[in-house]
Point group: C2
DNA sequence: TATTGTTATACTCTATAACTATA
DNA sequence: TATAGTTATAGAGTATAACAATA
């Protein structure tokens, strides 16, 4: 958290400034290690970008999935996001308690529930998306447009 | 875990197979989101690669830093790896208990300890490094050598 | 005063097992 | 039998505060 900048400065001051006398050559050349460092820095900046909204990253991702799939079943959201069923239950109850989404029993399959965004949920998602766009702009500020596309292409290829 | 392959198959079956009927367009175009997915998949494969050694990723990274910096102080390791001092204490005690490293009080600064790998620690690190090389080969199998270099370059630039 | 290392603690995320009600 | 959702629980990772010893 302390090494993350919210202004237009480097996202990662990790290996530039951190303990300059300590060698970390092996780790630095591991793609997986760098990926985790960068991913953690993104997550910290993402969480900071949500400050004031009361939303955590996983909550925003759920709203986004419901927005693009109105009426989607709870289990489907979890599968799409990689969140275990057992962990979806309290997450959904929390978002329902915040009046951001509604869970309506599915009449065809009475075990399941269909999920919809409320007006509040739509407004919250819109607010969060604007913050996320600013977050991406900050965190990818050092890359050209072409480099960003390359990065996404390589990540999608892995 | 269940979607991660340890053979020479795709590391990520995430958005290819997962809930094909659920749209996740907004999230898919966020670099931060894809970074996290890929990073998590790497971590899962990494952890799986360590099976049988009794080592977790953070423990291997500590051994690696001590190996490249014999006599380094405990706090320096934590700073280099982004692990808080408070969390380094039990980690180091654990590795010392496994006889993989030694902590020798620093005579110049008696608050500090200098850390060294034992013979066991050196052997363990060698074993883990071999597993990590195989892990990187698996996880980056879909990328050409040139693409791997580009990926590392872009990650380092962020 | 500041720093090294320690302890205690708490919060989030993740993972598993067992339960219900439906199918 | 299998599936949707729930509950309880446990583990790892991470964060802060307070402390003792030393600088």
């Amino acid at each position: 958290m302390s090494v993350i900048s919210v202004e237009n400065k480097p996202v990662l001051q990790l290996l530039d400034d951190r303990s300059p006398d300590v060698r970390t050559e092996f780790l630095n050349n591991l793609a997986g290690y760098r990926l985790r460092q960068v991913s953690n820095a993104f997550m910290s900046d993402f969480a900071a970008a949500m400050t004031g909204t009361g939303m955590r990253p996983v909550q925003v991702s759920i709203l986004s999935v419901v927005d693009e799939n109105p009426g989607v079943r709870q289990g489907e959201i979890g599968r799409a996001l990689g969140v275990a069923r057992a962990n979806m239950a309290p997450l959904m109850a929390e978002l329902e308690g915040m009046k951001l989404l509604e869970r309506i029993p599915d009449e065809a399959d009475r075990r399941a529930v269909s999920v919809f965004l409320t007006k509040s949920g739509q407004a919250m998602l819109k607010n969060c998306k604007a913050r996320i766009r600013a977050h991406e702009h900050r965190t990818l500020g050092r890359l050209t447009e072409s480099e960003r596309k390359t990065l996404l292409r390589l990540l999608n290829k892995i």
